[in-house]
Amino acid sequence: MTTVFIPRDSAALSVGADLVAEEFARLIRERNLDAHIVRTGSRGMLWLEPLIEIDTADGRIGYSNVDAAGVSELLDSGVLMGNAHASRIGVVDEHEWLAKQERVTFARVGIIDPLSLSDYEAHGGLVGLRKALELTSDEIVEQVTESGLRGRGGAGFPAGIKWKTVLGASADQKYICCNADEGDSGTFADRMLMEGDPFTLIEGMIIAGIAVGATKGYIYIRSEYPHAIETMNEAIDIAMAAGVLGSSVCGSSKAFTLEVRAGAGSYVCGEETAMLESIEGKRGMIRPKPPIPALVGLYGKPTVINNVMTLSAVPMVLANGAAAYQALGHERSRGTQVFQLAGNIAQGGIVELAFGVSLGELVDGFGGGTLSGRPVKTVQIGGPLGAYLGPDAWNVAMAYESLVQAGGMLGHGGIVVFDDTVNMAQQARFAMEFCAEESCGKCTPCRIGSIRGVETIDRIVAGVEQSKNLELLEDLCETMTDGSLCAMGGLTPLPVRSALKLYPADFGITGGQS
C-alpha cells in the first residue's frame, strides 16, 4: 500500500493542507486506490506548502504547493507511483535546501507521524532517555555541560550550569518548566517542533527531571498556538498510557509527569519569572532577581526553566554523546541552531545548521532573497527586541558572541527580512509602541518611556525641533536601557537605535545628525 504523507503543521494548514488531505481521502475511497494517508509535521520548506510526499522505492517523492482542486489531476498523472508532474520536486531528502542542513533537533520533524510513539522509537526516539536512566544525576548534568548546549530562548546561558544549580539545591519538590511562549515575531521553531515531534520535547523534559531530581514538569504554551497545545496534550496522554511518563518512567524507579499550561496573550510572560507567575495563575509581573529561579522558582521551589529548543536538543546529546554535539558549532556557540527565515523572503522556513553560518548565506542562499523580488533593505534578528542590521552585515557569523559584536543579538534565531519599501522610522516607532503595549508596568522607564518614545519619534519624523528631539530620544533610550528590570524595557532601544543609526533618512534626517 502506498503512503501519502500530508503535513498537519499549522503553517501548512494555513495554506490548505487539510483540504488537500480531505480530497486525497475522498478520491482514494472513490477510486478504490491502494493508498493511505499519514499526517506529519512540516519539513520546514514553508514556501512549498502544502508539500505532500509519496513513499516510493526511490524514497519519498515530494509534490509542492498542492491545492485541493488539483488532487484529482495529480492522481491521474500517477503521483502514487512518483511520476513526473510540474509540481514534483524529487526525493525530498535530496532537495538541496534540506540536504545542505544539519538537522539534529529537527531530525524527525516532517518525517514521522507526530503522535505515533512507535514511529518515534523507530526513528531513534527514547534512546537518549534510556541512556540517561543508566547514568547518575551528576553524569547526566556533566554530559549536558560538556556538550556546550546553551539556552535557545534568548540569553544563551549554559544549560548544564543551570541544571547543576538545581541539582545541588535540596528541596522536597523541584520542577522543570518549559518556556514555549515563543512570542518573538519571526520565530516558529518551538511551535513546529511541538506540532511535528512532541515526544522529543517530552523526552528532553524527562531527562532534565531525572538529572536534577524533579518529578513534575510544566509546558507553558502561548494561546496563539492552539494546535501546538492540542498536539502536546495528546502526546502527553499517549506517553502516560505507554508508561514513558508516570510513576515509573520506562519501567524505572523514576517518576515524572507533565502538564500543559496555556498563556493568555501576553508577550512579557515569555520572560522566565513572569512565566512562573503566570503558571501559578497570577498576573505576569517580572520577579526581581535574585533569588534566581533555579533556587526559588515555581511555587518557591528549585526550578529548571529552559526553552523548547534547549530541552529538545537534550535527547540527541544523550543519545549520541556530548562530544558529537560539541563537535558542531562556532567558538563558544556549540551544536546546531534552528534558524527561522521569515517576513519578506522568497524561501522561508526552518534552516537547522551548526552555528557559524553567515547571515548572507541564510538570507540570500537559503532564503533566495525577498518574496517581492526587490532588494533587501534590512533584517531584524532575535525578535522585537533585536537590532536591525543591513546587508553590510552579511558576513557576520551567526553565533551568540559574533552577533553581539556586530551590534545585534541572536535571540531565538528568527530572521525577519524587509525589502527596500520599508520605512525604518515606522519600524522604530512600532518597537516603542510594542513595548508600551506589552510592558508589565513595573518600571517607569519601560512603561512611560516607551510612550514618550513613540511621541518623540513622531516629532522627529514631522521635523519638529529635530535635534532637540533626537537628543531626547537618545536620553529615553539610555534611561530605558539602564533603568529597566528586564529586557523588555532594557532592549527595546536596540531596534530603535539601530534603525536610526543605519537609516537616518527614513526619519527625515538629512544633515550629518544621528
Binding site: V15, L46, E259, S266, G281, L371, V416
Partner: protein
C-alpha cells in the same frame, strides 16, 4: 452561550483544583465554557480560588485574551507584528478598516470581529490571520473576510 448556571460553573472550576488551579486557569476555564468572563463569574472565581475579588480583577485585566463581553460568532485574529508588516499587514489592517473592521477596538459587525495580535507563529507565510482558531496564511483583507463569512 451563557448556559452555565452558577452551580455548574462552580462545579467546573472546583474540578480544576486537583492540579493547583490558579486564578488565571479558572478564568480560562470560565471563558472556555461561557465564551467570556461575565462580572458575575468574578465572585465565583474568587470563591473557588480563595482569593479576593480584587486579585481576580487584577489577573482578568492583565491578559489581553480575556473578554468581558460575549464575543462575535467569528473572531478573526490579524497579526500586526514585524514579519507580517514586511509583507503588507499594515495595508491589510487599513483595508479591513475600510470594510468597517477596526483591529484596535475589535468591533463587531455582521457577527464578525477582527482583532490585532502579535505573531501567530506563521511568519514565513505572512501576512497571517486566524479565523475562529483556523490559520490562514498569505492573507489579504479579501481572503480574511471570505474565510470569516464561510465560518459563520
Amino acid at each position: 452561550m451563557t448556559k452555565y448556571s452558577h452551580d455548574m460553573l462552580i462545579g467546573e472550576l472546583t474540578r480544576l483544583s486537583d492540579s493547583k488551579p490558579g486564578i488565571m486557569q479558572a478564568l480560562q476555564r470560565t471563558q472556555e465554557l461561557l465564551g467570556f468572563v461575565p462580572d458575575t463569574a468574578i465572585d465565583q472565581v474568587a470563591d473557588v480560588c480563595n482569593v479576593s475579588r480584587a486579585e481576580v480583577y487584577g489577573v482578568l485585566t492583565f491578559y489581553s485574551d480575556f473578554r468581558r463581553e460575549a464575543p462575535a460568532d467569528v473572531v478573526v485574529k490579524v497579526c500586526v507584528a514585524e514579519s507580517c508588516q514586511s509583507v503588507g499587514s499594515r495595508q491589510v489592517v487599513k483595508e479591513l478598516h475600510d470594510h468597517g473592521y477596526d483591529v484596535h477596538s475589535g468591533n463587531q459587525k455582521d457577527g464578525i470581529a477582527c482583532e490585532q495580535t502579535f505573531c501567530l507563529g506563521n511568519c514565513a507565510l505572512a501576512p497571517a490571520a486566524m479565523i475562529n482558531g483556523k490559520p490562514l496564511g498569505r492573507a489579504s483583507a479579501t481572503s480574511i473576510l471570505a474565510a470569516a463569512k464561510a465560518a459563520k
